[in-house]
């Protein structure tokens, strides 16, 4: 199979380029894209990418495969390859450190902006804070985020304003805490989000939903934040 890989090593390359490599796939077995990367690295140890758990929970190996962002370790080759060719690029919109490795500083900074931790100024009880299964169910579809950045780097609003628009991943986390019955900083959290960029740059185009490897829906979360802002603001 032909694989076209985005290559850039700042030590030697002036500009990035797509380089063709070829790899023999074992018969009758549908490899994951990460397996292909490992085969390629066997041929050329200088190829760089992040990976770790190889089962889709650590969020290291988000890359762009034939145009679509996803996790290399849980994406079967057959699902993305087009006309016998696999095209691998780094996640769009973030500065490339080397090959498929992007600098995620901006992404993490947006995550940190939403105060992604529980705030509750009441002294904690001796045991756990109680939460009904229904209240807990509000967190489903939110807490599972693995911060792989597939969504935010598929989002044009994040490409254009990565410093101002929080992006789908950060907003999903923002809502994860807004929705938590144990969090008491709702008003404070909302007031920080009521500017023309942080939340409202979302145009509902749903690239985030279409690529999320965990099947989460940031667009819905953003909608919920907007309605909370609306309720607070009117």
């Amino acid at each position: 199979m032909q694989v076209s890989v985005y290559r850039y090593n700042p030590d030697v390359d002036e500009v990035p380029q797509m380089r063709d490599m070829s790899v023999d796939l074992p018969e009758g077995k549908d490899l994951m894209v990460l397996d292909v990367l490992e085969l390629l690295k066997g041929q050329d140890p200088t190829l760089s990418y992040r990976r770790s758990c190889r089962e889709g929970v650590c969020g290291s190996d988000g890359i762009n495969m034939n145009g679509k962002n996803g996790l290399a370790c849980i994406t079967p080759v057959s699902e993305v390859v087009k006309r016998g060719k696999l095209v691998l690029r780094p996640l769009p919109g973030l500065p490339v450190v080397r090959d498929l490795v992007v600098d995620m500083t901006q992404f993490y900074r947006q995550f940190e902006k939403v105060q992604p931790y529980l705030i509750n100024d009441q002294p904690p009880p001796a045991q756990e804070r109680l939460q009904s299964p229904e209240q807990r169910a509000e967190l489903d579809g939110l807490y599972e985020c693995i911060l792989c950045a597939c969504c935010s780097t598929a989002c044009p609003s994040f490409w254009w304003n990565p410093d101002k628009f929080i992006g789908p991943a950060g907003l999903l986390q923002a809502y994860r805490f807004l929705a938590d019955s144990r969090d008491s900083a709702t008003a404070e959290r909302l007031s920080k989000l009521d500017d023309p960029f942080s939340v409202f740059r979302c145009r509902g185009i749903m690239n985030c939903v279409s690529v999320c490897p965990k099947g989460l829906n940031p667009t819905r979360a953003i909608g919920k934040i907007r309605s909370m802002l609306l309720h607070q603001g009117t």
Binding site: S157, L193, P196, F200, G233
Partner: protein, 124 residues
């Protein structure tokens, strides 16, 4: 304290801009349907029929609303477009200047539209 501030958005509040854009959208949608409906159902469209239609007090007020809605709606939209694409990444250090020129241009054109339309509808 908001995470991001920007002085050239319409209201500086994301929520207010958002709401204004939605409300004006509804006004404009209704206005479009009204006018289009009139044009479609009127068999022999004439100058007199047009003046009659747009000259009524109700339509004058509705048109005024639509004109102002257009200005607000378009400003928010065009401002968003400008702050999306006119970035240092593409326009270098001149981006701010260029964005200022672009925004001023938008304001000027919208002002012309509003003045023109108001004069048009209220002089009938």
């Amino acid at each position: 304290m908001a995470l991001v501030t920007n002085v050239t958005s319409l209201t500086r509040s994301g929520l207010a801009d958002f709401l204004i854009q939605r409300i004006t959208a509804v006004v404009l949608a209704l206005y479009t349907l009204c006018v289009l409906g009139f044009l479609l159902v009127t068999d022999n469209l004439s100058h007199a029929a047009l003046v009659d239609y747009f000259g009524s007090m109700g339509m004058r007020l509705f048109s005024t609303m639509a004109v102002l809605s257009t200005a607000a709606h378009a400003w928010i939209g065009m401002w968003t477009v400008g702050t999306d694409y006119i970035r240092p990444h593409y326009f270098g250090t001149g981006a701010t200047v260029f964005r200022f020129v672009y925004q001023s241009g938008c304001v000027l054109i919208l002002f012309v539209y509003v003045a023109w339309a108001l004069q048009l509808f209220w002089s009938l």
